[in-house]
């Protein structure tokens, strides 16, 4: 009567500390340039080596420019990227350098290289590590002190989270994607609704999602507050992972798949919390506030103040003030200034196919600056192989180079103060895309619709 989460957790317990947390073995540590330098410094301070360097993979992504990757002009960002490379050389860690076919956003690269596999424990100094849970792994974001702990011991101290299952049943309506499912769940349960839990996504809707869709949903688990998101591996997972660069091959593959097939919650597994949503209740979504839970269906209006609980009204109004929106206002038809397709949330091949399907034969709106940024060099290669770049080009769009780009304003792709950006990224926080920038979150389809109309648009009307 164990959950999938129990099974992975239990099989990685090194010891349970008396009156304390569990020491958990970690199969895979990913490092990027932002949250690792101080961890390597800790090792140097203590005169330590990396305990299991072959379990660690590193790549820069946050500071990487999306217009050219010859040089990072910002000296501070450049130093951080150089420092990662030097640390990897010093400590014997595999490093996927900027501008090479191996590189990309860590949460796109891990699954697509077959480095993130079912049943693994995976950590990274990045909250969107939850992404990797889509392959059936227990994947958690951690802080830099914990990165140092894993580098030094390949283990981590964690108190066991509670378990939650979110079931989505039924068929998604046209124009509705995994991104919309996630934004819908957050609006239902708030951005702290799953704090303290590991969430397993189940139900017929999830089974019918592609691997890319599952990665998007799992990526956004952290925006519900959850410690991790996880989806039991199935044929979709195996098909996706087969022949990937680091996935097992030959007899090892067969053995692995036989084991992976056991990785599911038992029929009688009991969760600390269980909720069910119906796919047909989910429409294309858009956010209006400064947390990802503050959103509505694209054809709905921003809530009236009177519908907001009194204790939350001041916060609600503060969000709208920043966003320059009004209570009760309809978002549809609102002009946008910037369009961003990309990030670890929606920077995969399926997202570019979706965007291209909407803009094909149309033209980019003149009032819009569009950044289309593949999540990895492999994604970019596939975009070109499939001719998607031509469709984009004919519609007046330019394909940029792989980067975290405009998701978090740590590289040149910053949205100027006061400008409105419609974005496939994961956070609409105050200043997230640049100081003073205003962000509405949506799916690649909805963002594509805005890219050709210049205003927030219900993509179903273009389909």
């Amino acid at each position: 009567m164990n959950t999938l989460f129990d099974k992975i957790w239990d099989s990685h317990v090194v010891q349970i500390v008396k009156d304390g947390p569990t020491q958990l073995y970690i199969d895979r540590l990913y490092c990027h340039e932002v949250t690792s330098p101080q961890a390597f410094d800790t090792l140097r301070d203590k005169g330590l080596k990396v305990f299991r360097p072959d379990h660690v993979y590193a790549m820069p992504d946050h500071n990487t420019p999306s217009d050219q990757q010859e040089v990072i002009n910002d000296p501070v960002g450049r130093k951080q990227v150089d420092t990662l490379k030097q640390n990897c050389e010093e400590f014997g860690i595999k490093h996927f350098a900027m501008g090479t076919l191996d590189n990309g956003i860590i949460h796109v690269v891990g699954p697509e290289k077959g480095l993130s596999l079912p049943g693994m424990t995976i950590v990274c100094g990045d909250s969107h590590t939850s992404t990797h849970g889509a392959v059936g792994a227990l994947a958690m974001g951690i802080g830099t002190s914990e990165v140092a702990q894993v580098l030094a011991s390949q283990t981590i101290l964690q108190s066991k989270p509670k378990s939650m299952r979110i079931n989505i049943e039924g068929e998604l309506q046209p124009g509705v994607t995994a991104k919309d499912i996630a934004l819908y769940i957050m609006a239902q349960m708030t951005t702290s609704g799953a704090t303290g839990y590991v969430v397993e996504y189940a139900g017929s809707t999830i089974r019918n999602l592609s691997m890319e869709g599952r990665l998007t949903l799992s990526n956004l688990s952290i925006e519900m507050g959850s410690r991790a998101g996880i989806i039991a591996p199935d044929e979709v997972t195996f098909e996706y992972l087969k022949e990937r660069e680091y996935a097992p091959k030959g007899a090892e593959w067969d053995k692995a798949v036989a084991f992976w097939k056991t990785l599911k919650s038992d029929e009688d597994a009991v969760f600390d919390m269980e909720v069910t949503y119906r796919a047909e209740d989910i429409a294309p979504r858009i956010t209006y506030g400064t947390n990802p839970g503050a959103g509505v269906a694209i054809d709905e209006c921003i809530p009236e103040l009177s519908t907001i609980p009194e204790a939350e009204q001041a916060g609600f109004m503060a969000q709208l003030k920043y966003m320059q929106f009004n209570p009760g206002e309809k978002l549809e038809g609102h002009p946008v200034d910037y369009v961003f397709l990309g990030a670890c949330t929606n920077g995969r091949i399926e997202d570019f196919r979706a965007f291209a399907s909407v803009v094909k034969g149309k033209k980019k709106a003149e009032n819009v600056v569009a950044w289309l940024v593949p999540g990895s060099w492999l994604v970019r290669k596939q975009i070109i192989e499939e001719g998607i770049d031509k469709i984009l080009e004919e519609a007046g769009f330019e394909l940029r180079l792989p980067s975290c780009s405009a998701c978090l304003a740590m590289n040149p792709d910053k949205v100027p103060a006061g400008k409105l950006s419609i974005s496939t990224s994961n956070r609409n926080f105050v200043g997230r895309q640049g100081p003073g920038a205003r962000t509405v979150l949506a799916s690649p389809l909805t963002v594509a619709a805005a890219a050709v109309t210049g205003v927030i648009t219900d993509v179903r009307k273009l389909m």
């Binding site: 090194v14 304390g20 002190s145 702290s192 200043g431």
Partner: protein, 203 residues
Amino acid sequence: MKQKFDIIQSTCLPVAIDNCNTDLIIPARYLASTTRDPKFFGDAFMHDLRYDADGNPVADFVLNQPDFSEAPSQGVHEIIVGGANWGSGSSREHAAWAIAGYGVRVVISSSFADIHRNNLLNCFVLPVIVSKEFQTELFDTIAKNPKAEVKVDVPNQVVTNVTTGNSEHFDINGYKKYCLMNALDDIDFLLENTGKIEAYEQK
């Protein structure tokens, strides 16, 4: 940053922002650093709420108000009383470094995001979870008297609103409490357990 915890009694900084995410606690542009300098991160603490685009202090932000602008020191502003879901969003430990670098030793809230809570503990800042009612009373007390003190008794795991005398028990596991009270960090514990790790790998 490593310091022993016992009893802390101090005036407080009321930061009544719900869902105060780590992007607000420290904006992303301060993350491109490779330093561990506490002053660098302390200066960046809540930067874009404290300062406008031209670098001038935002007068009505709580940390710039005369009652709360004094930098933390022993007994003064060592405690933040924060809004619900404190530290949501990004896993950046830089947010905990900013809080510690500013001089704060305790954050009290009705709820914390999981990763940030772990980060605070690893940076020797104590997250104290209290009831919504207790949190509301603290905000009220501080609004009436900015010099109101809160006492955080780590050995007994009790937090007290000194003005009203109301107190609550708070949770912390025995291992972490021992670490905080003796200024020990997790990495040293893990290194003492290498034998167990290798035994696990042999299984």
